[in-house]
């Protein structure tokens, strides 16, 4: 089960500060959407509107075509997992999980048990006594096992070590295959998570800079790799995003598409043309916007 999300001309103001500026965006049902942006770009503000934690100042936020705010059927479809402050949470892990199963109509208890094992979560420990990484793992277990048609993970991996993050990513992909839903993953760890995304949304200073399927991202740039000197000559005058050099070999990220003629020319010179990384594109686009 999956649901679509739509924002129509959404503006969110905090007193004089505009966190979101006339954002219009449609997130297709059943896909994994990556939401990337720098600190303070408006990611969490946007997600909190989808989860009906607050109302937009103007515009509308729809889930499967209906406004989500105070709409019981639509709110029930959204699970919002974020870096929650658990300092005061003295309940045990199993209590929070059983609460989620009490309230979430599609909650899968068996799946939750499997995940608890995979993350080695101590179910009898009070939540505020868990390490940061374990608290994040608890959030992830609740978010995944709730099987809400719209599941939002807002930097849900904070404090998790690399192996745990790997389990998290694998579980998203596996569960998406078995029980497709709409995932929205907001992240800083672009290079680590980009392979998960079907679609990418980049936001900066409250506006959407880019919203595209992941495959077409590469149309925005290429990497040119080869002998340093030849790469320099070939890329002279082009907009460079990033460069790396190892011995005599150099790799340069170029912004913009290369024409077929240029590609052939590169091949003739023995240069390798590859896709640009989302990370480099993200850094470039947000720098340019600033």
């Amino acid at each position: 089960m999956a649901a679509s999300v739509q924002l129509n001309h959404v503006t969110l103001k905090f007193k004089k500060f505009e966190a979101l500026k006339d954002v219009s965006l449609t997130l297709e049902a059943g896909k994994i959407h990556g939401l990337i942006g720098r600190n303070g770009a408006g990611k969490t503000s946007l997600l909190s509107l989808i989860a009906a934690f607050r109302e937009p100042t103007s515009g509308e936020v729809l889930v499967d075509g209906a406004p989500v705010f105070e709409n019981p059927e639509k709110m029930e479809q959204v699970a919002f997992v974020y870096d929650k402050d658990y300092k005061e949470e003295t309940e045990k892990v199993k209590k929070l999980i059983s609460l989620a199963s009490h309230y979430r109509p599609h909650f899968d208890t068996e799946y939750a048990k499997q995940l608890i094992k995979r993350f080695k979560l101590p179910v009898n420990k009070p939540v505020n006594k868990l390490s940061k990484g374990m608290q994040s793992a608890l959030n992830v277990v609740i978010g995944l096992a709730s099987r809400a048609p719209v599941t939002i993970f807002d930097e849900a991996y904070l404090g998790m070590d690399a192996p745990s993050r790997e389990i998290f990513y694998k579980e998203i992909l596996q569960d998406q295959e078995d029980h497709p839903r709409t995932f929205i993953l907001s992240t800083h760890l672009v290079s680590e998570m980009d392979y998960l995304f079907d679609n990418v949304v980049i936001i900066d200073q409250g506006t959407v800079l880019l919203h595209e399927p992941y495959e077409t991202i590469e149309a925005h740039g290429v990497s040119v790799t080869g002998a340093a000197q030849e790469v320099d000559i070939f890329t002279a005058g082009m907009k460079q995003l990033n460069e790396q050099q190892l011995g005599g070999t150099k790799s340069v990220m170029i912004y913009g598409n290369l024409g077929d003629a240029k590609r052939q020319e590169a091949r003739a010179q023995g240069l390798e043309i590859g896709p640009v990384s989302l990370q480099d594109l993200f850094i470039h686009l947000t720098e340019e916007a600033n």
Binding site: E70, P72, Y82, Y103
Partner: protein, 237 residues
């Protein structure tokens, strides 16, 4: 998963509050026993559990009320429930808890009463005079029920004030809760309600049912105010 959402809220919230109240009554009962068997020298008649617990039960309900916005509301919205379902469920749980904390002192008091009649206790327990004054145990129970519910609502009011408007405006809500306590005392304890001296009538003369009606109206007003204050509240993250 067929039960309406607000009922799921009511069940879960009541279950938590119920556990707190069991802790509370256990501790209170131990204190009562100490009073009855050890701290009994100053008087030859010791009040029964009903009278003994009234004040503490009110304070307990105030504290539970103060915890409400922070302990439950955000959790509900995060679990995909609407503010309306969270409100209705919490209100039902609070009414259920008020009934429970009214019944427990009554039942313990009745047991004490029976015990005192059947066996000879080392102290004189006065388990009856409270009811004579108020016109029977039903009236006393109704009075306690309305009082504890009012105290709960005053606590809930303070907590939503802090939750929604921050700590400075929160003090305003504490002030508002004093108005609620003043009105409540004016209705139920006219001799101590000095703050309300300017109000015209003397409730001592008034009929019990009239007081209960006034108290019910206060409760309804507070419930309506809570709905208004939670209807579109922004959830803290």
């Amino acid at each position: 998963m067929t039960s309406p959402r607000y009922r799921r809220v009511a069940a879960a919230v009541f279950s938590d509050m119920f556990k707190w109240s069991l802790w509370f009554f256990s501790i209170l009962f131990v204190i009562h026993l100490v009073r009855v068997f050890w701290l009994n020298s100053d008087t030859n008649e010791i009040e029964g559990f009903f009278v003994f617990s009234q004040y503490s039960v009110n304070i307990f309900m105030l504290v539970v009320g103060i915890m409400t916005a922070y302990a439950f509301m955000g959790r509900h919205i995060q679990q995909g429930l609407s503010r309306r379902d969270s409100y209705v469920g919490t209100a039902l749980a609070a009414i259920g808890l008020s009934l429970f904390v009214t019944l427990v002192p009554l039942v313990i008091n009745a047991i004490q009463h029976l015990l005192a009649e059947m066996v000879t206790l080392p102290v004189n327990l006065d388990t009856a005079s409270a009811f004579e004054e108020t016109g029977g145990w039903i009236a006393a129970a109704i009075a306690l029920f309305l009082n504890v519910l009012t105290f709960y609502l005053a606590g809930w009011l303070i907590s939503i004030g802090y939750y929604r408007f921050g700590w400075i405006a929160g003090f305003g809500f504490i002030a508002l809760s004093f108005v609620v306590f003043g009105l409540n005392d004016y209705l139920w304890k006219p001799t101590t309600a000095d703050a309300m001296e300017w109000l015209p009538y003397d409730p001592l003369e008034a009929n019990f049912w009239l007081i209960a009606l006034g108290s019910s109206i206060l409760v309804l007003l507070l419930f309506s105010l809570m709905r208004l204050l939670t209807k579109r509240v922004t959830i803290k993250m």
